[in-house]
């Protein structure tokens, strides 16, 4: 089933939007680079609605042992315990065994479209 999420202008770079597929939340994210991705919107840890979290970056260590930031708008952080998910793969950054289901997203005629299984 294809769902029209919103117009492209309604989802700026670095932002997220939650779409309900029946009872299942799907978080659609637009990365800092402008790509679209979608993941199932429940945290695999304690079940928080990830749409209440933030799309952010990955902190890394720079050459001086300080903070460097990368992958802007590709990391979805849970609103509760702040677990980090890579929206491009659905994988939890700190635990590869924790993984969110991903869904195809595309843009057509200025709209963001999401392909999800038929809601039961």
């Amino acid at each position: 089933m294809t769902v029209v999420v919103c117009g492209v202008e309604e989802l700026p770079r670095g932002s997220i939007m939650t779409v309900m597929n029946g009872d299942t939340p799907v978080v659609v994210a637009r990365t800092g680079a402008g790509e679209y991705h979608a993941v199932r919107g429940w945290c695999a840890h304690q079940g928080a609605m990830l749409g209440g979290g933030r799309l952010t970056w990955l902190t890394c260590e720079d050459a001086r042992g300080g903070y460097a930031l990368s992958r802007a708008g590709e990391i979805l952080r849970c609103p509760w315990h702040s677990f980090e998910y890579d929206v491009t793969t659905g994988r939890c950054v700190t635990d590869p065994k924790l993984r969110l289901r991903t869904y195809p997203v595309r843009v057509e005629d200025g709209n963001v479209l999401l392909d999800v299984p038929d809601a039961t």
Binding site: H45, G52, G53, W80, H81, S82, K97
Partner: protein, 369 residues
């Protein structure tokens, strides 16, 4: 089973199959001005002049929502935890919670040794605010008497003043850098015992590990249990549980899986060095089993087998009491924080029975009826 697999080991649509009591819920005021109507003079006028601006935190929070769940900001404005309606919706109704113990997060203990009269006045104002704006809002809410422990006589008067309110169940003992086994604090314990109230320890932003706060917030958050362990050791070695035989203590948000180590160590030390503390008349583990309860939050992501082993090593299924810590960022969901494969009877003790017994909720209900 690996730890990660345990985290994944969830029923996709869990349902609550036991009633729930939540023993650590942090209500908050919208701003310090919320206390003004309840504050006695001369403090009300001084506060109106902006003579004190409130507590500050000595670090920056890294979690998604700062110190709170990022989804807990009230639509009407104000900080997380400040809207009784949202608290009802996100916590009490969402998880069908039977009773929730309010524990605040405005602890006059953090004012330190200066101006203890002001600290006690702020505690009194907070208690009246809590009664009027929270306990009156929902009968499922139970209250904590806030005190300035640096003013033990004032604290005892406050416990006597407000402690008889039918929804008040305990006295808060915020953990800063002091050990409560010091006889200086005994008037507080005498008053709590007199009023039939429990004691609840909870860390403040001032609590430190053995080597200080740590360089990073994550470090400090890992070290918080040290403060709880230190308070428990202090209370046991000072003979507080002998001197005040009706006192019972819940340690909130300080971890629990360390307890087997601590009771074994305390028992061994007592067998060796008991001569120094003759007021400690029984094995420390006996006092713990009888008088001390630990709140579960923040749970460590253990498997069901690991939970059962830790509880077996504690020697009692009655010690743990469930807490969410709403609205703080490390909130534990009643649906998801305990492994689904924990035996049903044990799960029910943790989520409900142990707290009901500890706070005497059945007897309270019978008294009111």
């Amino acid at each position: 089973m690996t730890q990660s697999a345990a985290v994944l080991d969830h029923d996709p649509s869990p349902v609550l199959d036991t009633p729930v009591i939540d023993v650590d819920v942090h209500e908050a005021f919208s701003s310090l001005d919320s206390l003004q109507p309840y504050l006695a003079e001369p403090w009300r006028e001084l506060m109106a002049q902006g003579a004190w601006k409130g507590f500050t935190q000595p670090f920056i929070y890294w979690a998604t929502g700062g110190g709170n769940r990022a989804d807990s900001n009230p639509e009407r404005g104000g900080p997380p935890g400040s809207d009784p309606e949202l608290l009802r919706r996100q916590l009490l109704d969402a998880y069908e919670i039977q009773a929730a113990v309010l524990t605040g997060y405005f602890y006059p203990a953090m004012l330190g040794d200066m101006q203890v009269e002001f600290a006690s006045a702020m505690a009194s104002a907070y208690n009246d605010y809590q009664v009027a704006e929270w306990l009156a809002a929902d009968p499922r809410l139970l209250g904590s008497v806030h005190i300035a422990p640096q003013d033990p006589e004032g604290a005892a008067r406050e416990i006597d003043r407000i402690g008889e309110h039918e929804q008040m169940v305990q006295v808060m003992l915020p953990i800063t850098t002091r050990a409560y086994g010091d006889p200086f604090y005994f008037p507080i314990f005498a008053a709590a015992q007199r009023r039939g109230l429990r004691l609840a320890t909870h860390h403040t932003v001032h609590v430190e590990g053995a080597l200080g706060m740590g360089r990073y917030y994550i470090e400090r958050h890992m070290l918080i249990p040290q403060g709880t362990m230190a308070q428990l050791v202090s209370l046991v070695c000072a003979g507080v549980f002998e001197r005040f035989p009706d006192l019972r203590v819940v340690c909130l948000e300080g971890g629990f899986s360390w307890l087997p180590h601590l009771i074994w160590r305390m028992d061994r030390e007592w067998r060796s060095l008991r001569q120094e503390v003759p007021w400690v008349k029984r094995l420390p583990s006996d006092y713990v089993a009888e008088k001390v309860r630990l709140a579960t939050q923040p749970v460590e992501d253990m498997t069901g087998d690991q939970w059962e082993k830790v509880i077996e090593l504690m020697g009692s299924e009655e010690i743990l009491m469930f807490a969410t810590d709403y609205p703080h960022f490390d909130f534990d969901s009643p649906l998801r924080s305990l492994p689904p494969r924990l035996p049903q009877a044990l799960k029910r003790k943790i989520l409900y029975d142990n707290a009901r017994e500890f706070y005497g909720l059945e007897e309270r209900a019978a008294t009111r009826a």
